[in-house]
Amino acid sequence: MEWCAPPARLWGMGGAPEARTTPSRENEMSEKSYRDAIRDAMMEEMDRDANVLIMGEDIGVYEGTFRITAGMLKKYGPKRVLDTPIAEAGMVGTAVGMAMLGLRPIVEMMTMNFAIVAADQILNHAAKVRYFSGGQVDVPMVVRGPQGAGVQLSAQHSQSFESFYAHFPGIHVVAPATPADAKGLLKTAIRGNDPVIFLESAALYGMKGEVPDDPNFTVPFGQSRVAREGKDVTIVSFSRMLQLSLAVAAKLASDEGIECEVIDLRTLRPLDMDPVYASVTKTHRAVVVQEQWKPFGVAAEIAANITETVFDELDAPVARVTGEDVPMPYARNLELLATPHEPEIERAVRKVLYKT
């Protein structure tokens, strides 16, 4: 399974992006990597709207540590593709100002770990200025970049930030699991009028999938997706863990006839729980899967919502599959222990089925 293979050993070594397919007709699809889907979304929107620009560290001359922006400086020039100093707060803050004045900046974080440095600019400024101005300004901007555990990147470079951001009103938080969603959700983010935290899974950059060619293809926020139908257990996830969940569902179905329904949340804020409730009403059992630390993580919110809303439908407590509650260790053996994998998901499915 390509997407659960270890990511390119070094994030920076992703190889050159593929040549872009020429724009083609509606309803047609092309096979694209998650990386190229992101790149296509940005370039299509830059072609469409001169207000869209991108800024970040080493996105221009260096062509991006993940090469997502390769060739963009050449195509759009230095006024639209801005190499910045190492100044994440500065990048986000200036983007807020640009957005208030009508531009649509995309800020690429080399990795989302560095965005913590910009937390104040995101959480106290981008997320709130519309509100405390009484709605006088739009803040159309995207902060995007890779996150999640890689291979031996250690404690400061391996984190995921869904719950960190999604706690705060005033921003949208997106975490796509497929190339098509990466593209469609990013286009929605760029066209929207609010700050969007767009959390890419570095480990999925190489994953391929069918992506609609239609340049007006977008995926709306707040629409969870049934990624696989099933009747026995509901698995709720997003981003890379969605792919692991699908693998487990496929295995359990073929090996043991256990039919998991797998739901992809896509966006954590807005959070669309309705398909989850509908599913649990059918399966009566739920497992929530996330990569990051358990305490105060995404899975807690999902589990609490399920219990709150469809309590009487539940035949078992909602199970959470999460990373271990430790800073990410460097040693590969410890790192593998720290992150959730298929066996843990499988175990959780059995647990809610009382098949242990």
Binding site: P85, G93, M98, H125, F132
Partner: protein, 350 residues
Amino acid sequence: MAKAKKESDSAVLDAACAPEWTEILKQMIFIRRFEEATEREFRKGKIGGYLHVYIGQEAVASGIVGALQKGDAVFCGYRDHAQALSLGSDPNRVMAELFGKGTGVSKGKGGSMHLFDVEHGLYGGYGIVGGHLTLAAGAAYAKRYQGSDSVVVCYFGDGAMNIGSFHEAMNMAGLWGHQGMCPIVFVIENNGYAMGTSVERHSALTDLAARVRAYDIAGEKVDGQDIFAVRGVADRVVRQVRETGKPYCIEAVTYRFSGHGAADILQPYRTKEEVEQHRHRDPINILRKRLGEVCGLTDDDVKAMDEWAIERAANAVKFAEESSQPAPDELFADVVAEHGPRPVSEDERE
């Protein structure tokens, strides 16, 4: 530091320009009276939260804003009433904002620290010290990107110069300035203190204008109590920044006569004598005296202005008082764009 002597004189004061300066005096008196009214209303419990007034610093707001034109944008900290009034915001609506009323400039949702009046060029009013500097630098980039010749003015205090976002904003502005892409005037409102911490105690280098050289940005000091000096520098600098697209920094040396905020009663960090001393250089008196000397402005003229100012401030209070609180459903408005992405409910789902 170059002294702004020449400009001070170049802001020629003669019969021809007397009406303009008289108008400025009137505005400064009004700001003073307005601020005094806010302090009173705060003590009465009509204004909540934090309240930071501009008393003593009026020439800095009026002097810089006077050099601006339509399309220019202003960002400032929480000490923002004077900027709003100088930019032409309706005093009634500014006061209503402080009262937390729906008629306020920010619909009552921002309060004293978050005055916004985009129509008049005011892009806020921010409460995290230094946080707005990066926003202002980005706004300046946007202005040039959009092909406009507008400039951005960003006010901040001496204390704000020590926080990281100051540094990042300055370096980025400096770099963008090299490409003519950052038409911004940074205005240091150096009132000697960050809350209770004097400049010598919070800044390793106390020559604040000199600090911006680290970003290849030119800076100069100006006497912030002398509106002639401030306006003179501002006229020149704003013109230059508009032409070049390069940032510039003005350190306005001023003093706040009131406490840091309405809660700063004891003021253990300074003596009454120190405050008294600075009151001798009240920016309103400096302008008033000069207008008296050169244009024959009389005490009666000033008295009339003052009465007008007091009444106008009182009217603002009355307007604020009589306005309604925001409607309850305002609570949920303006969190995200109503015209942007939003959750899709079941029946809308395809």
